[in-house]
């Protein structure tokens, strides 16, 4: 299981939970499982999210592996100038 930390603005979509546990070995699977567990997360995920795995920010890749026991944070999609 992976513990996914959400940003607090998402709590209203997960029944108040800021940490959600899902079974996922890749970033893509993680997003799928998050939506399966909390369908209301579809909106923010469609709007664009990044995933930090052990501090490394995955901007958009869905194929990045998530090693067992990783620290995982969902972040709003980063944009630059």
């Amino acid at each position: 299981m992976v513990e996914v930390h959400l940003w607090s603005g998402l709590r209203s979509l997960t029944g108040g939970q800021q940490v959600v546990e899902v079974q996922a070995a890749t970033t893509g699977a993680l997003l799928r499982e998050l939506v399966r567990a909390h369908p209301q997360l579809q909106g923010p995920i469609d709007a664009g999210v990044s995933i930090a795995i052990n501090g490394r920010i995955i901007a958009s890749g869905l194929a990045e592996p998530i090693p067992e026991g990783s620290e995982v944070y969902l972040m709003q999609r980063l944009r630059g100038g």
Binding site: H5, W7, S8, G9, L10, S12, L13, Q40, G43, P44, D46, A47, G48, A52, N54, G55, R56, I57, I58, A59, S60, G61, E64, E71, Y73, M75, Q76, L78, R79, G80, G81
Partner: protein, 752 residues
Amino acid sequence: MALDDRKSEFNFVGTRPDRPDGLDKVTGRAKFGADAYAPGMLHGAILRSPHAHARIIKIDASKAEAHKDVKAVVTRADFSDKPEFKPGLEGEFWNVLENVMAGEKALYDGHAIAAVAATSALAARDALKLIEVEYEVLPHVTDVDKAMAPDAPVIREGAADYSVPAGMHPNVVRYHESGHGEVEAGFAEADLVIEDSFATEATHQGYIEPHACLAMLGNDGKGELWCTTQGHWYAQKYCAAALGIETAQLRVTASEIGGGFGGKTTVFIEPVALALSRKANRPVKLVMSRSEVFRATGPTSSASMDIKIGMKKDGTITGAQGIFRLQGGAFPGAPGDMTAMCGFAPYNLTNVRQVGYDVMANRPKQAAYRAPGAPMGAFAVESVIDELCKKLGLDPIDVRLKNAAHEGTKANYGPTYERIGLVETLEAAKAHPHYAAPLKPGQGRGISCGFWFNHGGETSVSLALSEDGSAQLMVGTPDIGGSRASMALMAAEVLGIPYENIRVTIADTATLGYNDVSHGSRVTYASGLATIKAAKHAVEKLCERAAVKWGIPGDAVKWEDGCAVPSGPNAGDFDPMPLADITADMGATGGPISGHFEATPEGAGVSFGTHIVDAEVDPETGKTSVIRYTVIQDAGKAIHPDYVEGQFQGGAAQGIGWALNEEYVYGEDGRLQNSIFLDYRIPVASDLPMIDTVIVEVPNPGHPFGVRGVGETGIVPPLAAIANAVSNAAGVRMRQLPMSPPRILAALKENG
């Protein structure tokens, strides 16, 4: 991606050769956006709204259409109706189209309403006067706080996305909240808590080259576009959507780009020129005036911010909270989330909470501007830290070192930092002679840290070898500040051939795979990584070909200093075979040799900087002079140090303008009052001192040579560093940017 082949000793990387486009740029032959011409070309011009907010009742273009010099007139009806309106950023295709050409309403002063193509630029300009538009003027709002107030005019119902809490004004379209710990408990532990409010005005990227393009599009749906852009694949995608054609049928070539800083990461005139061309069936050139650039492109967001920070007597920050409200024009997209996440990012905080609002107002659609959102947040946060240091009698660098984030720190936005270089920049600042230099009466010193995420993004690179052993490298990220030199250095490093033997081209959309825009400080990181990988791909083939020539197995050959050599004593006894000896007969050993790499590199590595500024305030006039400026920033690894220094200096100079002079001034009528460079004054040579730089190199674990992006972080600390210097010089805390002479005089007066 596994990076087990990290390099730390370099032959080419870190040197300072002449840039490959230098000769073109000093002789005037480099071709920028407005420098292209085509046979039979028409000139376009755009009619713009004089109103900040108005319903478009009727557009009568019959007189213009009847004029002999006019070959086409377009309005929104000439664009695709496929892009759909959706809340927040989900409907960005629609948002961009709506910004390119107004639909039912004009949403800001300068919003495009219609366009013409005529036989000359003068004829096109004259023809605009023949178009009659009937408007119903609506109430408008341009200020961020007023736009959130209950009685504010609603710009667009339904633009708010899922994130906005119930009960907020419809102009609030996105909401971000993050942090950890309990801030109230943190404040309770503090010896001193300061709560204060700050505001910054919108500024423009101020690139010297206005937007310009040359477009050709036929009724067969096939088109060609030449334009000045930070990302021609983005332009291809958005133009195709706006025109209702297939993406692959539009070939886009990026001109030399005369500055962008984020402002050329989107499209404004390109779809209009294509629509005009399709209607006239002739090439159309469209060039913005400076006034159009100010009124209808860029700018950055304006911001209103509340900061509360608690500190112990020893300098430990016990709690930090920031509320950041950003106005981003008449569309969703103001980076309130970025401001919120970046503001406290330099610090190791137990209790932190940050809230960001994206607010719409009747202003042009904000565009990215160098670390979008971060400078304003740093201004507010670092001002309060400075005030705490002053009240508690603490050294501002010591306090920042005490609280500095490092590898293993839980970032304010959640994750744990990998190896980062903030502490190194602070230590370099403390050791720098600037920090110990005496100040004269009337002068003040300010320091600030700054943070930016950096970005990877979709990247494609191709490298092809020629028979004589030279190499052509095709990258897809427009070169804004010397990146062709950096790419050639990295390719030279891998191939082992001289820098001068490599020709780098910015490929058009028809000759290379997709590339994300030159933004997010990603070019040297991502295109650099792809260049290294493409060169390694070519090296693998070179080794195989040498093996063919020697008649030994491919894996018995390795690459050293530009030559194939046997990998060990058992592989055979052969002299090193130089690259050019292999390419000379590559047709016979298996065919042309190229290297390719396509990926979305995901290891950009965050970046930090620390700036030191000395400022002098004239109490008679309120004028501020920047006396001395030092930029210290972690570059990971500087590929071409001249251009790294250039990024540091340019970011600082733009920050000085933002801090002291630059602002969008709107009248009561909602119209922009200062749309030329005379009135919107960016720093000139006589305004600035030399800008010293210190390149700190803490390698990024996500890049084979350790590169971190350097383009954006340099604009994050200046607003705060200068505000701290000015506040220290004037003896009064400056809470609003720009710190123009009237504001400083008013602050001095209020302070008695």
